[in-house]
Amino acid sequence: MIYKVISKEEFSRFVDALIRENCSYGPREVDTDRHGNPVYQFRRVHSADEVAFDYTATHSSAKHLMLPYREELSRFRFSEGDWEQDIEYRVKPRLLVGLRPCDISALNILDDVLLNGKFPSPYYLAQRKNTFIIGMDHLPLPDCFCQSLNHHTVTKGFNLFCSDIGDSYYLSVNSSKALTYLKNFAIGDPTHEDDCRLIERRKLIKQSFQTEVEVTGLPSFLDIEFDSPIWQKWGDKCLNCGTCAMVCPTCYCYDTSERIDTDLEGASRQKQLYSCNLVDFAEVAGGHNFRPGNGDRLKYRYYHHYRGFAENANQQICVGCNRCGRACLADINPKDVINDLRMEKESCMICVSPSPPRT
């Protein structure tokens, strides 16, 4: 990693040049909600003016740029008694500006899951390799809890990362491409003061978290609490609407389906992001549903996120952005569910002491 410093005006000239030259995405204000607050989403941007650099959080994550909600995996062309399969992994290069550390961490987690296993996903790889990422730190919102999961800072997975140190940005340059582009602009090496300001900034961010979710020992808690009544309790609220999984930066479960073209001369195999909260996620042919209740399905999402599955080395995949909590109409959020689970556990267990407090 190479560190540089750039003034804010120069930075916006730099970003503007990149945005104009490429197919670019960034946080944009798209609406005003009923409380008068702006609503942001990662959308196409055509110049730096359109980017809301001081955005709070986007309603949905930027996941859809790497894992499109719907994606054609391959096409079949039918011919006389035979067929051919065409598979394309071509993605046009893109710029993604303004990603938060937790969102970059989320991509790193997706990398783990989708690129490191026995069967890496070429579709994801093509998207990931062709996305130039400029990250940005920010002060947490009152309900952010990424610090609890240690995702409030990030050291890989981006091309360039900017930390706000007053009238300039402290840049962590993580790719030669980024450095090459930057060379056309007035950048400097960080001075001792810049370093100090960066440390101050980091400290400030760390101290600004208002929400903490206790996740130590959570995997074994979850294992023990499989039959806990709290799943039923939260399940009763859950609408099975899949919103949480759609906005989450790390939910990646999917569904595939095939559709024959109207001219009957070919077919396409498509992938659609799914959610374990959707009613037929675990239904098999013949109608048997392995997770028939709302609570069973809700529990599953928590298992995947806070216990982790074997395939991703039993790691927690939640990054603590609380998008799911904010988006949930029934007001279900990780903090409350996990606290509930802990309370339940701690109130009934005398012999097992609660996990030691975090330091």
């Binding site: 008694g81 026995k118 069967f119 479960c253 569904d255 195999r269 996620f281």
Partner: protein, 305 residues
């Protein structure tokens, strides 16, 4: 206007070296091939019952045919272009390099399309995937195979294996139960299994018709018919989830340790590669960690059965 200097160059992953490799799902898959299978021709279709057919598939490309090896208990993803892909247990001998047999029940979209297909149809397979029955570990022991209904399909591969290495195993029992006599699969092989391969075969049905002369009742009753040497016996159990519980509990009472009983689980699957998460059981994937689990692991996997 800005200068072209700021254009991000494309990275074409199609050009990367693994593009040319042939997929080998047993070892490490070649990246480019995760959505492409081996093309197969359906060379023969046998009507077994009104619900099930046995499909014989032959991989078209000789190189791929040579590469395709599997272990008893593994499954493959069968692609029927235009209709979808589904996980199906391989129901033929691991020794058979010429063709693959799949015993398929008509259930939904993909299977119905297959049931309309004729000989010569072109489909594709990906795989094999998943874990297998520990045939080597079982050698020198007695083996009890318990099948309920379509559960006989995944048991055919271990059966072939045992028959091909019959001297390695001691007493081999096959207990097979279905709801009605007409649903019994592979009856034409029963004599061969009994006479040639010395398999102790017992069958039972729940609802006997007028023709049925054999036993009537639940499959667990067949366990009373055989002598179980608990210290030296392995069991393989396949069938509907409710059956696992009854059979395995019975066998456990007989004294067979839980880690010597094996079951094959079934879940919805869309990838077979541990990505779509549809086949999660507890915190494990049926496709990668399963479908074959020992009963001890199943007991530890919440909501497995």
């Amino acid at each position: 206007m800005h200068d072209m200097r700021f254009t991000i160059p494309p990275q074409d992953i199609n050009k990367e070296h693994f593009a040319e490799e042939v997929a080998d799902f047993n070892r490490k898959s070649a990246l480019m091939q995760t959505d492409r299978g081996y093309k197969c021709r359906i060379t023969n279709i046998v009507d077994l019952t009104g619900q099930e057919k046995l499909f014989q598939l032959r991989i078209v490309n000789p190189e791929e045919r040579r590469l395709f090896t599997f272990l008893p208990g593994q499954f493959l993803m069968l692609e029927v272009p235009g209709y979808g892909q589904i996980p199906i247990s391989i129901s033929s001998s691991t020794n058979n390099q010429e063709f693959i047999e799949l015993c398929i029940r008509r259930a939904g979209r993909v299977t119905s399309a297959l049931f309309q297909a004729g000989e010569g149809a072109m489909v594709a397979i990906r795989g094999p995937f998943g874990s297998s029955f520990p045939m080597h570990e079982m050698s020198g022991s007695n083996v009890i195979l318990v099948a309920g209904g379509l559960g006989i399909a995944p048991l055919r591969a271990p059966l072939y294996w045992i028959n091909e290495h019959r001297d390695r195993y001691r007493n081999v029992h096959l207990l097979y139960g279905t709801k009605e006599p007409s649903q019994m699969l592979f009856t034409y092989q029963f004599e061969e299994w009994k006479k040639v391969n010395h398999i102790d075969l017992h069958t039972i049905v729940e609802e006997p018709g007028p023709q049925w002369e054999g036993r009537t009742g639940m499959i667990t009753e067949l366990l009373q018919d055989i002598d179980i040497d608990a210290d030296n016996t392995y069991a393989i159990v396949c069938g509907p989830p409710v059956m696992f519980k009854f059979v395995c509990n019975r066998l456990e009472r007989e004294g067979i340790p839980m880690n010597r009983m094996f079951v094959s689980l079934e879940r919805r699957m869309h990838c077979g590669m541990g990505k779509c998460c549809r086949c999660m059981v507890g915190t494990t994937f049926t496709c990668v960690d399963g479908p074959v689990f020992d009963y001890w692991s199943v007991m530890n996997l919440q909501e497995a059965i």
